[in-house]
């Protein structure tokens, strides 16, 4: 009897905890409200099954606890009941799967007007690159990376010349404009994750992976690495600042392009050689 009561309190406690928990989603700041909705649906259906199964179990404990001389029912099978349960479960599962797949379909199909951002990860940090006025990112290669070419842009690729380089772990985004995050890594796996945006994807050395979202709330957010990447994993943070269009353009003006960087580097080298000559 006591056992039945305790099990009942555990179930009740779980439900109450879920209702009153102070720990829940961070306020969403992107278009992926549909993910939250799917989770809520799963909570209703799954939580319902959990409570129903456990309460049935508790009922059995109360009602059928051992009594000397009572005989249990002898009933090896009940085909009808088993069939009903199978179909009901299948239906429930389908009801969860369908919205899940629909949202995934949106997740893997990037809108055409999405702004591409090259997110480059290493142990342990981030930097970002935006396409210049041509709207195209230049191609890159890991072996090209050096002090003069921090992103490893292929020098013969003219698309790369006007790329905007943000050598900082904080990136600015335009509010209400979809972004396509293009992830690459120069060493191990990483994952560029902002809890408020819900979305994430691993950065894998050797390939470029992607995902997209549309920030819809102005503000500052923290970037976390969400794929274990060695001993500095927990400290691999970054930042995102979502801004209005005007603020964003102002910020963008102040950033350096690849050709500007090359010019700057050349000047420095020239000065150095002059110094040596003197």
């Amino acid at each position: 009897m006591h056992a039945g009561i305790i099990f009942f309190l555990v179930i009740l406690g779980s439900v109450l905890f879920h209702i009153f928990t102070p720990w829940y989603w961070t306020d969403i700041a992107s278009n992926w409200g549909s993910m939250d909705d799917t989770i809520t649906l799963t909570f209703w259906i799954g939580g319902g099954v959990f409570v129903a199964v456990c309460l049935f179990m508790v009922y059995c404990v109360f009602k059928f606890s051992y009594k000397e001389g009572r005989k249990a029912e002898y009933k090896p099978e009940d085909k009808k009941l088993e069939r009903i349960l199978t179909w009901a479960t299948t239906l429930g599962v389908a009801a969860l799967l369908a919205p899940g797949l629909i949202v995934w379909n949106q997740y893997v199909n990037v809108p055409k007007n999405a702004l591409e951002i090259d997110v480059m990860a290493w142990q342990w940090g981030w930097q970002y690159r935006l396409p210049g006025e041509d709207g195209k990112l230049g191609t890159t290669k890991i072996v090209n990376i050096n002090d003069n070419n921090p992103f490893g842009i292929n020098l013969e690729d003219s698309n790369g010349k006007d790329d905007v380089m943000i050598q900082s772990d904080v990136i600015n985004l335009k509010n209400n404009r979809p972004v396509k995050i293009l992830l690459r890594s120069v060493d191990v796996l990483h994952n560029w994750y902002v809890p408020q945006f819900r979305a994430k994807m691993d950065a894998v050395p050797g390939v470029v992976t992607y995902y997209w979202f549309e920030p819809n709330k102005v503000g500052k957010y923290e970037v976390l690495c969400a794929e274990y990447c060695g001993v500095g994993h927990y400290a691999m943070r970054g930042g995102v600042i979502v801004q209005s269009e005007q603020d964003y353009e102002n910020w963008l003006q102040g950033q350096q392009t690849f050709s500007e960087l090359i010019v700057k580097q050349k000047k420095i080298e020239l000065n150095e050689t002059k110094l040596v000559k003197k």
């Binding site: 456990c54 005989k71 009940d78 349960l85 479960t89 797949l101 072996v143 994807m201 274990y228 943070r237």
Partner: protein
């Protein structure tokens, strides 16, 4: 309530035929069982201490050896989890711990618990002890190989633990061992640590294959007369199917480990693309880190079921015995085990939705993953329907069973969150995942192990475990573990990522500090509660109540040996002959509420037993 269910309506039977008293059927044909096709097995009987207890070829002793060694490594895993929780809950008290240590503990805890504790315990421990007894064999079919299997496991554990003492310490690459970080500087133990881990896994797989072949062939070839496949206890079905999975899945882990060792030692590039490290381009190129993930999870997902299926089987038997009722829907239970086993090879990439594999795979793997929920749910329904109208003994064994149902359903439901591809996106790599898999493949199987220990301890030792201590052990473990993992899901909702040595100042994480302290405290208590079991075992061995023969009044063969505990060879002069399934409890018309598998029909002619 004094209701009696024997008068309930006629039942859709296992088969159309019902043996009843009315037919005047005392003809000798009634008890006919097909004669054996092969002769009795010759066994090697040990004579010295070494051959009897150390290099022993008796599956029962090997089972106990597996059990003890797995428990020993499990305790190491437990201590590592304490250290991790100390860091997460009370970082100021864990000043001695660096991030390197933390990641090494995380890794070793995970690998130990999944492979060297749960797998070894269920298949090596319970498999060895129970399979020959439950199918009515004298021993495993290859006793010598079986002995070697255990000692390979012993060496594998030795190599694994040796990695604590090599320069650089054990690997800290996470139990998934993902390259490239696993073998690069920047991850603790990327030198000797990862090599020893791979060697240990290879040894484990080799040793396990020896044991696994034994289990399979014993079940297929050495069942006694009358023990048809559809009369086997579900425990045997679970272990058997899990072993088939292991035989097919472990090779993927083996080659994964081998290829990674080659990458590390010989400079091949199976998993290593071009890598820039500390400003220098390494001498790798062209490999695929995702290939390793495919290999790992092609092993890793069936591995979940390698642990779960024996647990499913054992729990079915425990619930049935202690509810004094046949397991509901036996045939569906068998097919569910087989179908889950088969499907488990088509779901592995649900661990990789955000790994950077081709995103279109998500559709396929989400669908297969949610399909597997259907047979799993059927099993849950059948467990609770077995309780329904039973005569439930509320003893310690049953408590563990009920605890299993709660934790397993909870963990199964959160599995539907994570399996449903787009729901997984915000939750993957967060504490939600940790809570999910600990609930479903940590706590739930642990409940089964404990239930099984309290259930079969009288068989192995002839003594009962103390019920009083058992109940303390159960409630501390169940309530404690539930309060560790249930709230932990909500850390995942906040977005707290896994494998973080320190959370520090993120605003939405600082709100979780209180919860982390609570979880850690609960973890210390649950861990300590496990030592109640060890005390209980030692105490009961000394002064426990004698159990006698078949103390639970069970039907299956392991309780029907001529001596208790069973001797080497199990059955004395004559092998048992089986006349029915293992679940004839509370048969209407029968004198007792159980009819053992060896009871011939002519002895229970007045009962309305369904023919199985």
């Amino acid at each position: 309530m004094s209701e009696d269910f024997k008068d309930s309506k006629a039942i859709q039977a296992q088969s159309s035929e019902t043996i009843s008293s009315g037919a005047g059927s005392s003809s000798p044909d009634l008890d006919y069982v097909r004669p054996a096709e092969v002769g009795d097995q010759d066994l090697y009987h040990g004579h010295s201490f070494i051959t009897k207890w150390v290099f022993c070829q008796d599956a029962k002793v090997i089972g106990v050896q597996y059990f003890c060694l797995a428990t020993f490594t499990g305790i190491i895993g437990l201590i590592l989890s304490w250290l991790m929780r100390l860091q997460l809950g009370y970082p100021e008290a864990a000043g001695f711990m660096t991030a390197e240590h933390y990641y090494q503990f995380v890794t070793m805890h995970g690998m130990i618990m999944v492979v060297y504790f749960l797998t070894a315990l269920f298949l090596g421990g319970f498999g060895n002890y129970l399979i020959p007894l439950m199918v009515g064999a004298r021993d495993m079919v290859f006793p010598y190989l079986n002995m070697v299997s255990f000692w390979m496991f012993f060496v594998a554990v030795g190599v694994l633990l040796a990695s604590f003492f090599v320069p650089g310490g054990p690997t800290g690459s996470g139990w998934t061992l993902y390259p490239p970080q696993a073998i690069l500087e920047g991850t603790p133990g990327s030198g000797m640590g990862i090599i020893l881990m791979c060697v240990s896994l290879i040894l484990f797989v080799a040793g396990f294959t020896m044991g696994g072949l034994n289990y399979l062939i014993t079940v297929l070839q050495a069942r006694t007369r009358g023990m048809t496949l559809m009369r086997m206890p579900l425990t045997v079905w679970g272990i058997f199917t899990a072993t088939v999975l292991a035989m097919l899945a472990f090779p993927a882990l083996l080659v994964g480990s081998l290829m990674m060792m080659l990458d590390k030692l010989l400079g091949t590039s199976f998993f290593m693309p071009t890598i820039l490290k500390a400003g220098e381009v390494l001498e790798y190129g062209g490999g695929s880190p995702i290939l390793f993930q495919h290999l790992f999870w092609f092993f890793g997902h069936p591995e979940v079921y390698i642990v779960a299926l024996p647990a499913f089987g054992i729990i079915s038997d425990l619930i049935s015995v202690h509810s004094r009722k046949n397991i509901f829907g036996y045939r569906m239970m068998v097919w569910a085990i087989v179908i889950i086993g088969a499907l488990s090879f088509f779901v592995w990439a649900h661990h990789m939705y955000v790994s950077g594999m081709n995103p279109w795979f998500g559709f396929f793997f989400a669908t297969t993953t949610l399909i597997i929920a259907v047979p799993t749910a059927m099993k849950v329904y059948n467990w609770i329907l077995t309780l329904w109208r039973g005569n439930i003994r509320m003893n310690t064994v049953m408590l563990w069973c009920l605890g299993f149902i709660v934790t397993f359903v909870n963990g199964g439901i959160t599995g539907i969150f994570l399996g449903n591809v787009s729901v997984d996106v915000p939750l993957s790599d967060t504490y939600f995942v940790i809570a999910h898999f600990h609930m479903v493949m940590g706590i739930a199987p642990l409940m089964v192990i404990m239930g099984a220990v309290y259930h079969w301890f009288p068989l192995v030792t002839g003594k009962f475990l103390s019920e009083k201590l058992g109940k303390w052990h159960f409630w501390l473990t169940f309530l404690g573990a539930y309060s560790i993992y249930f709230p932990m899901h909500y850390l995942g909702f906040i977005g707290v990522p896994r494998r973080y040595f320190e959370m520090y100042d993120s605003p939405y994480m600082t709100s979780a500090v209180g919860m982390n302290e609570f979880i850690s405290t609960a973890a210390f208590i649950v861990g300590a509660a496990q030592f109640i079991l060890i005390y209980n075992i030692i105490k009961s061995l000394k002064i426990g109540k004698a159990a006698g023969k078949n103390p639970w009044q069970a039907n299956s063969l392991e309780w029907l040996t001529p001596t208790v505990p069973p001797e080497h060879g199990n059955w004395g002069d004559r092998l048992p002959v089986v006349h029915r399934w293992a679940y004839d409890y509370s048969v209407p018309g029968a004198k007792e509420d159980f009819i053992t598998q060896t009871t011939p029909p002519s002895e229970v002619t007045d009962s309305k037993v369904e023919k199985t």
